[in-house]
């Protein structure tokens, strides 16, 4: 094996090692954010880091370590699947958290949902996801 190929191998190893360590640090950042942030909305902000960017970095590390081309479409499919499901569940959790008032209103800079909720509740006696108002 020529020295150039050896150095390229070492460079790929180093890049994937950096990706793995940074991707693991994303998880640690999410845990610290979960422990230290004051309410549900800010904890949701911290929780998305390992789900999207952390998974991206780690899948890149897997692809770099395997050193074949055919794994990249599989890894891209896995990452896109995560990209499609994470916003939906985050939207549902955020909406439920808003409805059950797990937030500090003084920490919000804008609240665009409040007017919609008030209008929908006043107009039809229903909440905007189609359920009767049970309060």
């Amino acid at each position: 094996m020529s020295p150039e190929a050896m150095s390229a191998d070492a460079v790929i190893d180093a890049v994937s090692a950096v990706f793995m360590v940074v991707g693991a640090l994303m998880s640690l950042g999410a845990a610290i954010g979960l422990l230290r942030f004051p309410d549900l909305m800010s904890r949701m902000h911290a929780a998305t880091k390992p789900q999207v960017l952390g998974l991206f970095l780690l899948l890149c590390a897997v692809g770099l370590q395997l050193r074949t081309w055919w794994v990249w479409p599989v890894l891209v499919v896995a990452w896109i699947f995560q990209l499609l499901t994470v916003p939906v569940s985050a939207h549902m959790v955020g909406r439920a958290g808003y409805r059950t008032k797990h937030l500090h209103p003084e920490l919000l800079s804008t609240d665009e949902l409040e007017a919609v909720v008030q209008q929908a509740a006043g107009k039809r006696g229903f909440t905007d996801d189609g359920e009767p108002h049970r309060d």
Partner: protein, 92 residues
């Protein structure tokens, strides 16, 4: 270099999982616990990815996708049926 990376990531992910478990235990609301369980699943997926990268195989890829399905279905279901049972608001 790989054993060093494996040690570093094992320590970091263990600390992260401990933090997420503390948030699951402490609470205060059901949605916080769901969010922390989602993060715990993401940490588990990260550990599976690191295992695949260090040992150079792809056996865990289906497990990774099914973990993300489980997290999605679980958090959507709980968020759909969550109800407010607190006496006073904004105690989170």
């Amino acid at each position: 270099m790989m054993p060093l990376v494996l040690t570093i990531t094992a320590v970091v992910l263990s600390l992260a999982a401990g933090g997420a478990i503390i948030r699951i235990a402490r609470g205060p609301s059901l949605l916080d616990r769901v969010l922390a369980a989602d993060v715990l699943l993401a940490i588990l997926g990260a550990a599976l990815c690191i295992d695949m990268a260090v040992n150079r195989h792809l056996n865990n890829l289906m497990l990774l996708v099914s973990i993300s399905i489980i997290g999605f279905v679980g958090s959507v279901t709980v968020a759909r049926f969550v109800a407010d049972r607190r006496k006073q608001p904004n105690e989170s």
